[in-house]
């Protein structure tokens, strides 16, 4: 429990919540016959079949790295796809950052992201900590409806509008829930036991210590972002601390679900959006102990209000069986076309993989951009071989030239929308499309780029990633 790096804090945040939202009440109704207890209020964010912890973490981090590269990029997740391939390194290429940026991956705890961020703050580093989560859950478990998919990213730095003024950490091997290689679904223990012990033994002492370090009384906290292991913890904790601060993680749980490693930091974004200058904001990451941090707000935090808006955007996922399919809980027989699996080659990925995951095309000597690059430019004005200048397409808008909703091709979530997409700089790319609008895609629609899984070889346990075109604007939940 130390004194602080006073001028360091949170420079900006970004959040990503997938478009689809399952109405928990509707899902619970499907399982009413079972009598199993499960959450019945709010919505649960559901990743598309081609989203995973990495793609969502990249989406969250995109806005934080436009102007300059950080010193380091940290990736945190308990549900990352690869177990021996650094997601942080893949994110680095997807974000088109220099390879000299230090990277590391953190896992095995829901507080991996807050711990990584605290390390960055204490090390006085300009770092991006990004966390994504898409946890496998079992039908009938409360976790399947309580959890959600999503991601968050935080950039730390000097002279930040949310300064770290106090912190404390406590390592405590409380098994409120666990997952293991032999039990990949989260196994949860009795809620009252978890609540009583977590509040008394972990949360109260760590938050008191952080407030002491900040030189404030807990009652001075204006906002909180506390990752509760089970519902009701904040109520008990706030009562013990005499705090009246709202816990913004509750809104995340209500509208998107428990986002695992991303949960506390997403709540922090909402808390910072709601806070006024001079407010003290509490952050608590929970999992095998807790990290508590107190921030003093000195101005608006870039990205915070967009995170609140992101949470409100969504499209209702009405079909429970589609939800089961998207979450891998239901294995449909998709027929022969689903048998086709490509094998990506490491040699090819070494040659062109960065251009693919970073969506980097090339500009020819006449100024036209193309993707992918080639020795002879596609531009008919040019006839010689030349070396092209890198141009990133991932952050640009484009226009649909042709499109169809393909119902013959296999897709884990049909139909398979694809077509030609025209960028304003001249590049034209045949692309898959995602986040299908209610009335489908049309020629002339403007689109933006989203990182997604391109292909998945389930037998070999390998994925490749590429960008797909999505509508510019997402519907607001309730209007969808």
């Amino acid at each position: 429990m130390s004194v602080l790096a006073q001028s360091f804090g949170i420079a900006a945040l970004g959040g990503y919540v997938p478009l689809l939202r399952l109405d928990r009440k509707a899902a619970a109704r499907e399982l009413a016959w079972s009598g199993l207890p499960m959450p019945r209020t709010g919505t649960r964010a559901v990743a598309d079949w081609d989203e995973d912890a990495l793609t969502m973490a990249v989406e969250a981090a995109r806005l934080l790295c436009r102007e300059s590269a950080p010193d380091a990029l940290r990736f945190a997740s308990t549900s990352a796809y690869f177990t021996d391939r650094a997601q942080s390194g893949m994110a680095l290429d997807a974000l088109a950052m220099p390879r000299t940026v230090r990277t590391s991956d953190a896992a095995n705890s829901r507080r991996a992201a807050t711990s990584a961020m605290l390390d960055a703050l204490l090390g006085r580093q300009d770092e991006i900590v990004t966390a994504g989560e898409k946890r496998s859950t079992q039908p009938g478990s409360a976790a399947q409806l309580a959890f959600g998919d999503g991601a968050v990213a935080v950039r730390t730095g000097p002279d930040a509008p949310a300064r770290l003024v106090g912190h404390a950490s406590l390592s405590f091997d409380l098994i409120d829930r666990y997952a293991s290689r032999d039990h990949p679904f989260s196994y949860a223990y009795e809620e009252r036991f978890v609540r009583d012990v977590a509040v008394a033994e972990v949360l109260v002492p760590v938050v008191r210590a952080a407030c002491d370090a900040a030189g404030i009384a807990p009652g001075q906290l204006a906002h909180a972002a506390v990752h509760e292991p089970v519902g009701g913890c904040w109520r008990a904790l706030a009562k013990a601390l005499s705090s009246k601060a709202p816990n913004h993680c509750e809104a995340v749980s209500e509208m998107a679900g428990d986002l695992g490693t991303a949960h506390a930091l997403y709540g922090l974004g909402l808390a910072l959006d709601a806070a006024k200058v001079g407010d003290f904001v509490l952050l608590v990451g929970f999992g095998s102990g807790a990290d508590a941090m107190v921030f003093e707000v000195t101005g608006p935090v870039p990205g915070a209000s967009a995170m609140a808006a992101e949470l409100r955007e969504g499209q209702v996922l009405a079909s429970y069986s589609r939800f089961l399919s998207l979450t891998g809980s239901l294995e449909l027989d998709w027929g022969m076309r689903a048998e086709f699996e490509q094998k990506a080659q490491a040699t090819v990925l070494e040659r062109v993989g960065r251009d693919m995951v970073g969506f980097v095309g090339g500009r020819d000597s006449a100024g036209n951009v193309q993707f992918p690059k080639s020795a002879f430019p596609v531009n008919p004005e040019l006839s010689g071989v030349e070396r092209m200048e890198d141009v990133r397409l991932a952050d640009l808008e484009a226009t649909i030239v042709s499109v169809t909703a393909d119902r013959l091709n296999f897709s884990p979530d049909p139909p398979f929308d694809f077509g030609l997409v025209q960028f304003d700089n001249g590049a034209r790319v045949l692309m898959e499309m995602v986040n299908r609008p209610a009335d489908g895609f049309r020629v002339g629609d403007r689109v933006r780029m989203r990182l997604r899984t391109k292909a998945q070889n389930r037998r070999l346990g390998f994925r490749t990633y590429f960008w797909k075109a999505a509508p510019l604007v997402r519907p607001v939940l309730g209007d969808a």
Partner: protein, 399 residues
């Protein structure tokens, strides 16, 4: 200066199997059927075949790589056999190879044969294949109807045609081909279908419904080609001649460069222009008596009518609905039912089209026979509208 191959190569014999779900026979048996018919038609000894080109598009999945499947099936003894593949233009590519061999004087008699055994792949439509280990990292795996459906939206947008009007013209394309297919004894689909059924069929790839898509079939077709002099010596007084064969392949321009609006197929236009020049055709609308075009999907045939210069830009839907390309129309298209109903064993299709023109030119088409056929055109389109190989061939008589 190159003079082309007009009237340098005669087709003296052709064969074509019944297309369809040929559960009874493998690729080798299909080749034997087509070959035997062509030999009998040519009235030639098989030993006179000096070279062969075999076309087969989906090699890894059914027939097999290289010259060997054909050399084995037909027991071509130490004959130089070349296997060619150019997607849906494969059959015409095989004919082109054989014709060029004769035209160059390299051989006197050559065989072109195309075959596909799609029903051994297990798929209802075309099977999925890799697009190459590098392209697989970014290129979508659209189905064939998915890629050609893109033409419809782009065509409607370019010409300001209401989707419903375009859909009706597309339906007429399929309706007409079903009418024709009913008269083709070797066709895969021989039933006439009414317009309501076509219009209300389940969607495969918006806006293409089931009846906007061609049959996926087994089949083989073959041609024996030689010089006009040898043809006459074989007793063919007025042999069917190759007037032109031209190909055009995408260099990536359509799908990588921003100048194409997606509403036409530039390769068809390029191949057709060269073929008309090679054949000496100045006005295809009055000189062509029939066409067999690559109607893999109804929208494809519609766009091809403009790409071949047979309809004015934006007028194909009206011409189609007016019956211009029907059996009794000015320039009938798909007299044998086309890919739509005769079927589409990919590697055989170009030769199947030539078989129908060849048959019509000789007045041997039975119920389907069109009066006064002097010139017929075949057209293949491999790949997709935005990344294609187009082939155009023109056949006529020597005299």
């Amino acid at each position: 200066m190159a003079t082309g191959i007009r009237d340098k190569v005669a087709i003296v014999g052709m064969g074509c199997t019944r297309f369809g779900e040929r559960w009874d026979v493998g690729a080798d048996g299909l080749m034997v059927e087509a070959f035997l018919e062509a030999l009998a038609d040519a009235e030639i000894e098989r030993a006179r075949i000096e070279a062969a080109w075999v076309g087969n598009a989906l090699d890894d999945i059914n027939v097999g790589n290289s010259a060997l499947p054909a050399a084995h099936a037909l027991r071509l003894d130490k004959v130089p056999v070349t296997r060619v593949e150019n997607m849906c233009a494969t059959g015409t590519e095989a004919l082109r190879g054989a014709a060029y061999a004769v035209a160059s004087g390299a051989v006197d008699v050559a065989l072109a044969i195309g075959v596909e055994k799609l029903k051994d792949t297990g798929y209802g439509g075309l099977p999925l294949r890799t697009k190459g280990v590098q392209n697989d990292l970014w290129m979508p795996y659209g189905s064939a109807p998915g890629t050609f459906a893109q033409l419809a939206g782009a065509y409607a947008a370019r010409h300001g045609i209401a989707p419903g009007d375009l859909k009706r013209a597309m339906a007429h394309v399929s309706w007409k081909s079903h009418q024709n297919g009913a008269l083709s004894p070797k066709a895969h689909l021989r039933g006439a279908v009414d317009m309501d059924k076509i219009l209300n069929a389940p969607l495969i790839a918006d806006p293409l419904g089931l009846f906007d898509c061609c049959g996926v079939s087994d089949g083989a077709a073959a041609a024996i080609v030689t010089t006009p002099e040898i043809a006459r010596a074989l007793g063919k007084a007025d042999p069917v001649m190759i007037k032109a064969i031209q190909l055009s392949a995408s260099n990536g321009w359509e799908m990588q460069f921003g100048a194409w609006d997606g509403a036409s197929v530039p390769n068809t236009r390029a191949a057709a222009a060269r073929a008309y020049a090679e054949a000496g055709i100045r006005d295809p609308r009055t000189e062509l008596d029939m066409t067999e075009v690559h109607d893999c999907f109804s929208i494809t045939e519609l766009v091809i009518m403009e790409d071949l210069g047979l309809s004015d830009e934006g007028r194909a839907p009206a011409d189609i609905l007016d019956g211009r390309y029907d059996r009794g129309g000015a320039i009938p298209c798909q007299l044998d039912g086309g890919l739509k109903c005769f079927g589409h064993p990919v590697g055989a299709s170009g030769l199947r089209m030539a078989y129908e023109v060849y048959t019509q030119l000789q007045g041997r088409a039975g119920e389907r026979q069109r009066d006064n056929v002097d010139f017929g055109l075949t057209h293949n389109l491999g790949g997709s509208p935005f990344n294609s190989v187009a082939a155009v061939a023109i056949l006529g008589r020597l005299n």
